[in-house]
C-alpha cells in the first residue's frame, strides 16, 4: 500500500465533460474528483457509458467535437492542465503523461513501421536524430518483450498479433518515462493468456519506472489483481472509492455490491447470480436524485424517499473509503448500519 500523505501526482476536481449532440447534452462526465499518488495504480471501474474513458481523455485534453470540458480542474506537476495553452499541452502528452488504448491494432498507424512509430516519440519530444531515435525504439521494443526486436521494428502493425501490438503501444507510452500512464481497457480486446502477459508487463514496468497508472476497465478481476485503489463510476460520477482490499472486503454502495454479486467467480459456483435490474440510464435524461436510484434494490427495500429527490455527495464512510449513497451519508448513517447488519 502506498503512503497517502505524499503529494498526489494528479488531482482531478469537479471535472465535467459534456457532449453537445443534436438530441441534447450528454453528461458523460459530471463532477468527478480523485487523486492519484506517486507509483500507485488507480483502478477506474464501471460499465460501458459510465464515463470512465471520457474521464481519461479529458485528462489528456483529447476530447473531440462535440465533446467539451465544461468545468473543473486537473492539477498535474503543479499546473492546472485545463488552463494550459494547446502548445504546452502538446509538450505534455506522450512525454510527462501518456495513454494506451483498448484496440492496440487499430491504435497503430497502418502505414508506418512500428519502429518509426515508437521512434517518433523521441524525435518530437527530444529532437533526437532519426538513427538514434530508431536505436532507442528497438531498445524499448526489446524491453517490452518483443522477440527479435531488431527485425520486428521493421514490421507493420497488421503483421503483429494483438498482444504484440499492445506491447508496442506500451513501449511508445513509456518511452520518455512519464509520470502518469493512463491505460484504457488495455487487455479487454485480448485473449486470456495474452491478457495475463500484458498485466504482468504493466506491473513489472510500473515497479521499474515508478509510473503512476490510471487503469480503466470493466473487469473486476483485472482490478483486483492490479490496482492499489479503486474508484467505481456510474453514470458520469464516482460512486465509491477505496483501497482495493477494502473495496472487495467491504463494498458500500449498492451498485458496487450488485456488480460484485452479478459476476460468476471461478471456483465459487452459485445457483443463481445476483442481478442489477434494468439498464444504465440515458445520460441525456438522467434520473432525478441519485442516479442509481431507479435500479437500487436497497432503496426499494428500505423505501427511501430522499434517493428519488436528491443526489447524495461523495462522503467518507470509512478509513480511506468514500461512498456516494444516502445509506452512508451523515443523517442516514443509522440506516446504513442497519443495512450492514442485515448483510452480514
Amino acid at each position: 500500500m502506498k503512503i497517502q500523505n505524499e503529494q498526489p501526482v494528479l488531482t482531478v476536481r469537479n471535472l465535467k465533460t459534456h457532449f453537445f449532440t443534436e438530441d441534447g447534452v450528454v453528461k458523460a462526465v459530471d463532477g468527478v474528483d480523485f487523486d492519484l499518488y506517486p507509483g500507485e495504480i488507480l483502478g477506474l471501474v464501471g460499465e460501458s457509458g459510465c464515463g470512465k474513458s471520457v474521464t481519461s481523455l479529458s485528462i489528456l485534453r483529447l476530447v473531440g467535437v462535440p465533446g467539451k470540458i465544461v468545468d473543473g480542474e486537473i492539477w498535474f506537476e503543479g499546473k492546472n492542465l485545463l488552463s494550459l495553452t494547446e502548445n504546452e499541452m502538446v509538450a505534455m502528452r506522450g512525454n510527462r503523461m501518456s495513454m494506451i488504448f483498448q484496440q492496440p491494432q487499430t491504435s497503430l498507424n497502418p502505414v508506418y513501421k512500428i519502429g518509426d512509430q515508437v521512434a517518433e516519440v523521441f524525435t518530437i519530444h527530444k529532437n533526437l536524430p532519426k538513427k538514434e531515435a530508431w536505436d532507442k525504439a528497438v531498445e524499448l521494443l526489446h524491453l517490452v518483450g518483443i522477440p527479435d526486436a531488431e527485425k520486428k521494428a521493421h514490421a507493420f502493425p497488421h503483421e503483429m498479433s494483438g498482444g504484440q501490438a499492445q506491447r508496442v503501444m506500451i513501449a511508445m507510452a513509456l518511452a520518455l518515462n512519464p509520470t502518469l500512464l493512463i491505460a484504457d481497457e488495455p487487455t479487454t480486446a485480448l485473449d486470456v493468456t495474452i491478457q495475463a502477459q500484458i498485466m504482468d508487463l504493466i506491473l513489472e514496468l510500473r515497479e521499474k519506472m515508478g509510473t503512476s497508472v490510471i487503469l480503466i476497465t470493466h473487469d473486476l478481476g483485472v482490478i483486483a489483481e492490479m490496482a492499489d485503489r479503486v474508484a467505481v463510476m456510474y453514470a458520469g460520477q464516482i460512486v465509491e472509492q477505496a483501497t482495493v482490499q477494502e473495496l472487495f472486503a467491504r463494498p458500500h454502495h449498492p451498485y458496487t455490491k450488485g456488480l460484485m454479486g452479478s459476476i460468476p467467480v471461478l471456483g465459487k459456483v452459485t445457483r443463481r447470480l445476483e442481478v442489477i435490474p434494468g439498464s444504465v440510464p440515458n445520460l441525456i435524461n438522467l434520473p432525478q436524485g441519485c442516479r442509481f436510484s431507479p435500479r437500487c434494490k436497497a432503496r426499494i427495500e428500505q423505501s427511501l424517499e430522499i434517493c428519488l429527490h436528491e443526489n447524495p455527495m461523495l462522503v467518507e464512510t470509512g478509513s480511506n473509503h468514500l461512498c456516494r449513497c444516502w445509506l452512508y451519508d451523515g443523517q442516514m448513517k443509522s440506516a446504513g448500519d442497519l443495512m450492514e447488519a442485515n448483510h452480514e
Binding site: E47, S48, P147, S161, G163, Q164, D191, V192, T193, I194, Q195, A196, Q197, M199, D200, H218, D219, L220, G221, V222, I223, A224, E225, V244, Q245, F248, A249, G258, L259, M260, G261, S262, I263, P264, V265, L266, G267, K268, V269, T270, R271, R272, L273, E274, V275, I276, P277, S279, V280
Partner: protein, 331 residues
C-alpha cells in the same frame, strides 16, 4: 452456497459429434492452386447428454464458433458426422433436415446484428413458426407473447423495432426467438460476452431458468471461463481446432490434466485481492491455424513439453472416467 453436482440418472446422448472437420483454404499463384489449408475444426468428437449444458471454451480463433455453426449446417462441414437422436443431420436434406433443425436453435453473440432492424421484434420471434408452418396465425401470436413474457419482456414490446431496445433486451429477444420453435437443443454462441457485467447475470439467469423449465440442452460457447464454469455441467477446452480436454465442471477446475487448461485457469483474474495465486504465464502468441506447429499443437507454448510432443500429436482419450484429455503427460 455451492450446489451439489447434477447427477444424470439416465444419461442419454442427445447430440453426438464424430470426427467433425471444417477446413478453410487459401488459394494463390498463377493457377489459383490451394496454397494453404487452415483446419478450423480438426477431427473433433464429443457427446452432449440430454438436459445438460456442455461448455466450450477457448481463445479467439480456436474454432469454437465454427463448431457451433457447422453443427447446425450454417457452414457446410468438410467431414464428419453430427447425430441428433441418432440421425446424422449431414445426410439429411429438405423436409427431414428442416424437421430436425426446429429442434436445434442458436443464440448469437452480437445483440445488434442478430435482429433484423426492419422487422418488429414480434415478427422476428414468429418468423421461425412461419417458415416451418407451425400453428395458425393466432397460435403463433400466442406462442410469441408467451415466450416474450418468459424472457422478461412485456406484450407491447412485440410491436417495437430492435433499435428501441438495449443490448441486454435484444439478447432476451434472441433467446425468445430461439425458444419459440420449442427446440430441445440450443447452441449459445458467446451469448453474454458483448453485454455489460450487470446485464450478463440477467441473461445467464434467464438461460438457467429456461433450461429448468423446458429441460433444454445447451452447448454453451464462450471465452470467459468463469461464465462457463457457472453455467456448464461439463466443459470442453479447445486449442487450435482441437479439443484438448473435456471433463465434468468440478473435475476440470480442480483437476485439470492438460497444461493448456491449467494455464488458462491460472490466467483468469479473480475478483478478490485476498486470493493470491501462482500464475502460469504462457509464452508467445497463439499460432496461426494455417501454420500449426508439428506434433502437439500446444508444444511451443507448453511449459512441460517433451521431445515426444514435438514429433507426434497426443491421442485424445478418456484418461479417467468421464475425463478426456490429449496430452503425453497423461500417457
Amino acid at each position: 452456497m455451492n450446489e451439489p453436482l447434477k447427477t444424470h440418472t439416465a444419461r442419454m446422448e442427445l447430440i453426438q459429434v464424430r470426427n467433425l472437420k471444417k477446413y478453410y483454404t487459401i488459394r494463390g499463384g498463377f493457377f489459383q492452386r490451394i496454397k494453404s489449408c487452415g483446419k478450423a475444426v480438426d477431427n473433433v468428437s464429443f457427446d452432449i447428454f440430454d438436459g445438460e449444458t456442455l461448455g466450450l471454451v477457448g481463445e479467439s480463433g480456436c474454432g469454437k464458433t465454427t463448431i457451433g455453426r457447422t453443427m447446425l449446417r450454417l457452414i457446410e462441414p468438410t467431414g464428419g458426422e453430427v447425430y441428433y437422436e441418432g440421425n446424422n443431420i449431414f445426410n439429411l436434406s429438405g423436409g427431414a433436415l428442416q424437421a430436425i433443425r426446429r429442434n436445434m436453435q442458436i443464440i448469437f453473440q452480437d445483440p445488434f446484428s442478430s435482429l433484423d432492424p426492419r422487422m418488429p421484434v414480434g415478427e422476428s420471434i414468429m418468423e421461425g413458426m412461419r417458415i416451418n408452418r407451425i400453428g395458425t396465425r393466432k397460435e403463433q401470436f400466442d406462442m410469441m407473447i408467451d415466450v416474450l413474457r418468459k424472457v422478461g419482456l412485456e406484450d407491447y414490446h412485440a410491436r417495437r423495432y430492435p433499435h428501441e431496445f438495449s443490448g441486454g433486451q435484444r439478447q432476451r429477444i434472441g433467446i425468445a426467438r430461439a425458444l419459440a420453435l420449442r427446440p430441445r437443443f440450443i447452441i449459445c454462441d458467446e451469448p453474454v460476452s458483448a453485454l455489460d457485467v450487470s446485464i450478463q447475470s440477467q441473461v445467464l439467469n434467464i438461460l438457467k431458468d429456461l433450461q429448468e423449465e423446458y429441460g433444454l440442452t445447451y452447448l454453451f460457447i464462450a471465452h470467459n471461463l468463469s461464465v462457463v464454469e457457472h453455467i456448464s455441467d461439463r466443459v470442453a477446452v479447445m486449442y487450435l481446432g482441437k479439443i484438448v480436454e473435456l471433463a465434468h465442471r468440478a473435475e476440470l477446475f480442480y483437476n485439470p490434466l492438460h497444461p493448456y487448461t491449467q494455464a488458462l485457469l491460472s490466467a483468469i483474474p479473480i475478483p478478490d485481492p485476498a486470493v493470491k495465486r501462482k500464475r502460469i504465464t504462457l509464452k508467445g502468441d497463439v499460432p496461426s491455424l494455417f501454420n500449426p506447429p508439428k506434433g502437439c499443437r500446444f508444444h511451443p507454448r507448453c511449459p512441460f513439453a517433451k521431445d515426444q510432443c514435438l514429433v507426434e500429436a497426443p491421442p485424445y482419450r478418456e484418461v479417467q472416467k468421464g475425463h478426456f484429455a490429449a496430452c503425453w503427460l497423461n500417457e
